[in-house]
């Protein structure tokens, strides 16, 4: 799955051309100008996600420095409807595969951003330990490593992470198998305080 998408990302990266592309609604627009470059496309995201994907919060996530593969997966999930959302499901279908790859690579090349936000010190300290135990394997280097192709968690707005966990819990977004196991274990051992502590830890990261 990942290999296929990565391959597509590479092909897409080399072929940002005048293609009107496959993909649903965009097909109707063969008479439109297409082939906008990565910067032009990505700048349209900044009004909501911040300049170069650095979100001021309080809820919209930062895109800066994320893995291109992760962004591509998310956009494709919104586009297909596999991931339920408030607004991205209406926006993502406006972009072809090439355009999504272009934007994903643009944001992968920008700096990560930690949204300044309030947190509870004691909970954050506990959360750090819980992160290491339950999350670090995939969200590596304290949730900061893009190359693991998992979402960057460090410094993301807490409401966004909270919404994401709600979505995972109620099936609006599907959890990878390993994550499902870990979250279940966490909840069993720590109750809801466990996740709360972990989210405080991410909020504390500078």
């Amino acid at each position: 799955m990942k290999v296929t998408k990565l391959a597509l990302a590479i092909i897409g990266g080399c072929a940002i051309s005048m293609s009107a592309s496959a993909g649903g609604k965009v097909d109707k627009s063969v008479s439109n100008m297409t082939g906008a470059d990565a910067t032009m496309l990505s700048n349209t995201c900044a009004g909501c996600h911040g300049t170069d994907g650095a979100s001021s919060g309080p809820a919209i996530p930062s895109l800066g420095g994320m893995s291109a593969l992760y962004i591509t997966d998310m956009m494709n999930g919104y586009k297909s409807g596999d991931i339920k959302s408030t607004i991205m499901g209406r926006i993502a279908p406006g972009y072809s595969e090439d355009e999504i790859d272009a934007m994903a690579n643009y944001f992968a090349g920008t700096e990560q951003h930690r949204t300044p936000q309030a947190f509870d010190k004691a909970k954050a300290a506990k959360g750090m330990k819980l992160h290491d135990k339950y999350c670090e394997k995939c969200h590596s280097e304290s949730g900061t490593l893009a190359e693991d192709d998992s979402g960057i968690l460090a410094g993301q707005p807490t409401p966004y992470l909270h919404y994401s966990m709600e979505d995972f819990a109620n099936g609006d977004r599907s959890m990878p198998k390993k994550m499902k196991k870990k979250v279940k274990k966490l909840n069993k051992k720590e109750g809801s305080a466990g996740m709360e502590a972990i989210l405080n830890y991410y909020a504390s990261q500078k």
Binding site: K25, V26, K28, S29, S31, N32, M33, T34, G35, A36, D37, T39, M40, L41, N43, T44, C45, A46, G47, C48, H49, G50, T51, S55, S56, G57, P58, A59, I60, T86, I87, R90, I91, A92, P93, G94, Y95, P116, Q117, A118, P157, P159, Y163, E166
Partner: protein, 438 residues
């Protein structure tokens, strides 16, 4: 701070020197040597500020000057939320230090005359340009009995945020128990199409808690409006719309909703069939392109015709018009669309000054309406330019679901996203950091 002052002072001096060399478009032998060209942006609202910043970001060797009379810009969008107290007016004020720190000059004066290669200001200044970007926002077409003077004192329009919006809030908070607010909405096209209806909801949100027997009468020359179903549903859910006990009474055009005259001495709106006396009267007039566009030959009818790939005026060369004043067929007159136009324009100007063709544009719009403390909804759209450039074409988008598909949890999220949208779109324009409380 000191550093900025020095820079500003220096820029002022070199700008003055440049003005003496009339029409010169390339500097030599000065600290600005290598500057590819000069851009003067008339109007430092969201569109103007975004355009200036994105030109500078893309090519720091381009000399960029914003001409804006106000030292603090209060956003129109989100200002309705000051009525219910969700945000304060102070939180909606933006200043220009972030942009000056990037090397953008900001001149606080009013632009008067836009020539072929320079802009003159009310304080006697003159600023040379190779390209000018005009982003003046809107002006009003007042009905008989209404004017800016009256709006400043009693019958507000409160459609440029700032002082009038604060006055409207005070009037509503000070209204007698069981009083009536009369709000008149404008004809299409106008800035922020959902604005009057979000305002209605925000007034109702305040009254529901603090003055529950009060009423709101909305006079509308139209028979429907932006996010029509969503607003009517929200008015119904939160404020009893459609019941005998509704706080809101919307009178559409076909039923006499068109305002014809204002009698400010009695706070009365004279509509096509009846007269409506309000304890608070808020009249949002019909709109047209900002004054400076009219005064400088950029307007055809009420708005400014432009090339939709570059936003260069169809009437005057090297002058671009963006934001609410432009006749951007296919795009709404929203803050987000203005910022989107600004970025497309910035890219076109940077390309031109580097000897390249205008790039393929991409535009989007997202717009949130907050209708109760726990309920907001949005419209979103992704656009491409038609190959023949006659119109900006929507290729995807839509509204927050309503009716059977209404999702209360998602509505609460959209309130938080609306506030995030505000933070990010204003920081993207002004580089002035966080404003709203977390």
């Amino acid at each position: 701070m000191k550093k900025n002052m020095n820079r500003r002072d220096f820029m002022k001096v070199s700008g003055g020197a440049a003005a003496a060399v009339a029409g010169a478009s390339i500097y030599t032998g000065s600290a600005l040597a290598g500057a590819k060209g000069r851009v003067v942006v008339v109007g430092g609202g969201l569109g103007g500020a975004t355009c200036a910043k994105y030109i500078k970001r893309a090519d720091s060797s381009i000399d960029v000057t914003i001409i804006e009379p106000n030292k603090t810009y209060f956003t129109g969008f989100t200002s309705n939320l000051t009525i219910s107290g969700m945000v304060t007016m102070e939180q909606l004020g933006h200043t220009y230090e972030g942009l000056t720190a990037m090397g953008i000059k900001v001149v606080h004066a009013a632009a008067t005359e836009i020539g072929d290669s320079s802009v003159k200001t009310s304080d006697g200044g003159s600023y040379d340009f190779d390209r000018c970007v005009v982003a003046p926002g809107v002006d009003f077409k007042f009905v008989e009995g209404h004017s800016e003077e009256i709006a400043n004192k009693s019958v507000t329009h409160a459609y440029k945020s700032g002082a009038q919006m604060s006055l409207l809030g005070e009037q509503i908070r000070g209204m007698k128990k069981g009083g009536t607010v009369v709000l008149a909405a404008p004809r299409n096209p106008f800035r922020c199409p959902p604005g009057p209806y979000e305002r209605t909801a925000q007034i109702a949100a305040y009254l529901k808690v603090n003055n529950p027997t009060a009423k709101i009468i909305v006079l509308d020359p139209k028979d429907k409006f932006s996010k029509f179903g969503l607003f009517k549903e929200a008015w119904k859910i939160h404020y009893g719309y459609g019941t005998d006990n509704s706080m809101i009474n919307w009178i559409k055009g076909a039923e006499g909703g068109a305002l014809e005259e204002v009698d400010a001495s009695t706070n009365t709106a004279i509509a096509s069939i009846e007269e409506f006396k309000g304890d608070v009267l808020n009249v949002i007039p019909d709109m047209k392109a900002g004054h400076v566009a009219h005064a400088n030959g950029l307007v055809k009818g009420d708005w400014c015709p432009v090339d939709l790939q570059t936003f260069e005026s169809s009437l005057r060369k090297n002058i671009h018009v963006i934001g609410d004043s432009s006749a951007a067929k296919g795009l709404p007159k929203s803050g987000y669309a203005a910022a989107s136009e600004a970025k497309v324009t910035a890219a076109a100007i940077v390309a031109a000054m580097n000897g390249n063709a205008a790039p393929v544009p991409a535009y989007t719009n997202t717009c949130y309406s907050v209708v109760a403390p726990n309920d907001a909804f949005s419209v979103a759209a992704v656009y491409q330019l038609a190959a023949d450039k006659h119109k900006v074409m929507k290729v995807a988008g839509g509204l927050t679901p309503s009716g059977d598909k209404r999702n209360a949890a998602h509505r609460e999220r959209e309130v938080q996203y609306a506030l995030s949208w505000y933070e990010n779109i204003t920081t993207d324009a002004f580089s002035d950091g966080k404003k709203l409380p977390l």
